[in-house]
């Protein structure tokens, strides 16, 4: 099936989750949260959330512990870099091993 029915003549799209496709497929390293270290989890309070603040893809939630939407997480590792207690580590994706 072709794209002839798409009536755009230049690239045009609507802003929305997943507009660029399942960008999680780009990931080579996956962020893993260690609940024993995460400040929000340890204190059982909605606090810190630097990972949520810095995530460029907005895939981090302000949960206790924070959760990650891996369908769109590109695995950039910024959350691991900004975590003040090193609760997030980047683990190699199994599919790439």
């Amino acid at each position: 099936m072709g794209t002839r029915e798409c009536n755009h003549i230049c690239d045009e799209s609507s802003p929305g989750i997943g507009e660029a496709g399942s960008t999680g497929e780009w990931r080579t390293n996956m962020p893993v949260i260690d609940e024993t270290k995460c400040t929000a989890s340890k204190l059982n309070k909605p606090t810190c959330f630097l990972c949520w603040l810095y995530c460029p893809e907005a895939v981090m939630t302000k949960g206790i512990p924070p959760s990650i939407n891996l369908l769109y997480c590109k695995g950039c590792g910024i959350c691991a870099q900004v975590c003040p207690v090193q609760a997030i580590t980047m683990a190699p994706e199994k599919k790439n091993l």
Binding site: C6, I9, C10, S14, E19, A20
Partner: protein, 406 residues
């Protein structure tokens, strides 16, 4: 067809003609950076805006790159946009030329053809616009100042129907700074000819859209669940638009004739090709010089015709073949050079003839680079030389001859 209105002929140079055409086209945004020999055109447009004769936003920019960026932004929100440049300015616009065409924005650009450095040179040749051949713009070349005025108006009509930007090219100094009679159309007639611009997409804050973001190689399903073009499909659509623009260009020329009494329903100009055995091919003002050369050769009994290229992109292959079917010798004069190959229009002619039954010899001459004067006598001499060379065994030499003093 009888034209009822009186003529309104004024003596003006090519830049004036282009500026008046932009005004008559009711352009809404002008962004340009002055560069020789285009400068008087931008000066005239800023005067029109300042005096209120042209109700447009004149955006003074710091570079040609920004000039076309402004026009691109203006065009996508629905404004009729015009810019003009020459040589290094056009080279500096290169990236935005791709952007305007890729975004399918019907901008009109007047390119006042000038040589490109190094070394510095402000005089005429066509290397600047030929170097932008593959940016996806329609390119139309003018032979005189009346054609400049008429072509700018037609360019908006063409661009806004096929959503492809149009470059109106005319030779620096030879046309831009040379005064000749130009018939200025009535505003009411131009309004009748040129309906308001309807953009192919609308920016609406209530319904936000992304335009021309990173587009992946393959088509993808958008958030609305529809399969969207990938990069390559969009490139195909641009090619398809240019391939199919011939009818629109001819229609724009025909409708122009109905209202203004000057016929542009043609992809190129012809002179005495009916019985011609030898065809001279030239583009822009050089095509006028070629007619004088043909006069000289006809007096000697040589059956010479002229094909004056007008629309260079899309290149009218089938039309060219129809005209050249009787030619035994085609002499192509180029004011440009594709280094290591030949003149760009010569390559086009050869490409058009491939696979047809026409087996004419082709001779290519490079002339007039950097403002070197091209006399009709020189074109006639070169044509005689080409005729004499037919006795040689090589049908088509690999490389062009240069008319210079090396």
């Amino acid at each position: 067809m009888a034209i009822q209105r009186k003529s309104n002929i004024h003596i003006m140079d090519g830049n004036q003609a282009a500026a008046i055409a932009a005004r008559l086209s009711r352009v809404q945004v002008v962004a340009a950076y002055p560069i020789t020999p285009q400068t008087p055109l931008t000066e005239q447009l800023s005067l029109f805006v300042e005096s209120g004769e042209l109700k447009a936003e004149y955006v003074a920019v710091e570079s040609e790159h920004s000039a076309l960026a402004v026009c691109t932004s203006a065009s996508i929100v629905g404004a009729r946009a015009f810019t003009a440049t020459s040589a290094h300015g056009l080279a500096y616009m290169h990236e935005m030329l791709h952007w305007a065409a890729g975004a399918r924005l019907p901008i009109v650009l007047a390119c006042v053809n000038r040589a490109i450095g190094a070394p510095w040179n402000v005089l005429n040749d066509q290397q600047d616009s030929i170097a932008q051949r593959d940016t996806g713009w329609i390119q139309i070349y003018c032979r005189n100042n009346q054609e400049i005025l008429d072509t700018v108006i037609q360019a908006f009509r063409i661009a806004e129907q096929v959503y492809v930007p149009v470059m109106v090219c005319y030779d620096g100094y030879i046309l831009s700074h040379t005064e000749m009679p130009v018939d200025i159309p009535d505003q009411a007639d131009v309004d009748k000819y040129l309906p308001p611009y309807k953009p192919h997409t609308t920016l609406d804050p209530a319904n936000p859209k992304n335009y021309n973001l990173v587009t992946l190689a393959d088509p993808r399903v958008g958030v609305e669940g529809k399969l969207c073009h990938g990069y390559m499909e969009l490139r195909y659509l641009l090619q398809e638009a240019l391939q199919n623009s011939r009818e629109t260009i001819l229609d724009a020329g025909q409708e122009f004739n109905k209202i203004f009494g000057r016929d542009y329903a043609r992809m190129f100009w012809e002179d005495r090709n009916e019985d011609a055995e030898i065809t001279i091919v030239a583009m822009g003002s050089l095509a006028m010089e070629a007619i004088v050369a043909a006069d000289m050769l006809r007096e000697e009994g040589i059956k010479v015709g002229v094909l004056g290229l007008r629309v260079f992109r899309p290149f009218p292959k089938a039309d060219v073949v129809r005209v050249l079917r009787k030619s035994k010798l085609i002499v192509v004069f180029d004011k440009n050079i594709s280094y290591g190959s030949e003149g760009a229009t010569c390559s086009e002619i050869k490409s058009a003839l491939y696979g047809t039954y026409i087996n004419a010899s082709i001779r290519n001459f490079i002339v007039g680079l950097g403002g070197r004067d091209v006399k009709a006598r020189e074109l006639a001499d070169a044509t005689r030389k080409a005729i004499a060379s037919l006795k040689e065994t090589v049908i088509n030499p690999d490389y062009p001859e240069w008319i210079c003093q090396i």
